[in-house]
Amino acid sequence: MARKLLLEKAHVENIRSYEVYRREGGYRSVEKALKTLSPDAVTEEVKKSGLRGRGGAGFPTGMKWSFLAKPEGIPRYLVVNADESEPGTFKDRYLMEFIPHLLIEGMIVSSFALGSNRSFIYIRGEYWWIVDILEQAIQEARNNGWLGKNILGTGFDCDIYVQRGAGAYICGEETALIESLEGKRGNPRIKPPFPAVKGLWDCPTVVNNVETIAAVVPIINEGGEEYAKIGVGKSTGTKLISACGNLNKPGVFEIDMTISVEEFIYSDEYCGGIANGKRLKACIPGGSSVPILPANLLLKTAKGETRYMNYESLSDGGFATGSMMGSGGFIVLDEDQCVVKHTYTLARFYRHESCGQCSPCREGTGWMEKLLLRLEKGQGKMSDIDLLWDIQRKIEGNTICPLGDAAAWPVAAAIRHFRDEFEWHVTNASEAITKNYGLAHYADPLLATA
């Protein structure tokens, strides 16, 4: 049984309420940090823990914090990114919905470390009912002296506010999120300057994912070094994985990053295998923007080694034969699923969510959607596949923010690993409308090296 640091208490009855959360040991990390540590010492513990940002990029959190500019007399801000919108990802929702005080506790400690007296949770607008849950937790924390002025008599002031977005995936990008929080369209900013220097209202700002900030609680309670002992290599601590698609037990799981992908999919402790006795065809292991992998390359690397659920192992082989940990959104497709159609829905998603600022993304995502729809409907040409490849290459790396890359990668990986399924949609067009290509020869590991 893997060790749980975040969701261990998530199923205790009434853990949403302050009394129960406190009785179960909640808010100890605030006492420890504010009374016995300096802000820099808290940052030092986070550095020692090896914690990497849980939103998708995996950047070391302690390092991000240490970049925060601290000019005299200018406020600094912590903004928690709860704009969880990457298809396949629903872990932050779970954490906020079931154990909201963990996020509030992590935010108080993190705000102390960063010197933020006014911190925000930017939550996607659709998570409407969760706003109430969070606001109640904040109110309870304030009533019990964990928020407000002079917390625990230490002189540290902190307030937390929840800001609802209004339906824009792009606002998960940190500079777009800041724009949105300033009451504007979610157009990402050109970096530099980075938010650590010029963020919210031009003040130094740290934007961190919900899970990242929640992980600060066990790091302070147990110490950074202890936290770093869990996991493997540079994948320290535990990770929330949201698993979905054709699984027996889709849901949110907390794993320590030493288990294999095979164990995660098939063991009863996690996803319990593929639904309806079907076979595994493909998987997008880290949210819709990371490369899709056929079953053989998912379970084993190109070198034939077991693939594990951690940052290094999932990216083993680069984009040619590997993928990424990303946001932990684990999407599983069974043998009946059509990769062309699935990729089409993702292309449509990115076209819908492009902010329209950069032409490669604005125009390219629309072209990719149209071409994929044509292929999916059996009206495509062989040259459409090459055109798709060409378009995705022209988007990647040519936009202000990573949405362009995020739109390009799923298309590239689908063609790279499933090219014969795309071709079949052209050569067997009438069949493609009513039937799926199935597994065909995807069990052949050589396919992966195309």
């Binding site: 800001q163 009451g183 504007k184 209202w201 889709p250 999407i331 969510e353």
Partner: protein, 167 residues
Amino acid sequence: MIQFSESKQKEVEQIVARYPAGKQKSALIPVLHLAQQEFGGWLDVPVMDYVASLLQLKPIEVYEVATFYSMFNLKPVGKYMFEVCQTGPCMVSGCDDIIAYIGEKLGIKPGETTSDGLFTLKTVECLGACGYAPMMQMGKYYKEHLTREKVDQIIEECRREAARINN
């Protein structure tokens, strides 16, 4: 005349107070949410102009935000809006069938509203409920693990609630 009730005006003041002085533009999205709820489920131009005057913004600053975010409705919608997710994970879990079924049952296509003004069907992109698919948003809450039976039940409940309010 378009105006928030006194209690809603207080709410606007509380929202503005979250931000430093002079940064009241940050209140725009929360106040637009509030306006949409209060003024019939969508944002008409006079409503947006009212929000602009409340927050001391130029009307264009409000329009450009209202048109950017997909949760703001720029034309009237039904009393009950069924926003069904159609992105990849929901697709592999059977959302196409659910969308078709709702459309058939209500006699409308995605993007349309029933003639009695009760229901709007809308397809949306990922709502972060992929493990509980197929699903849709209805107002503040999610309806998950949708089946045809569950859809029947939801529509029935909406109709009963609407009839109760009308009586």
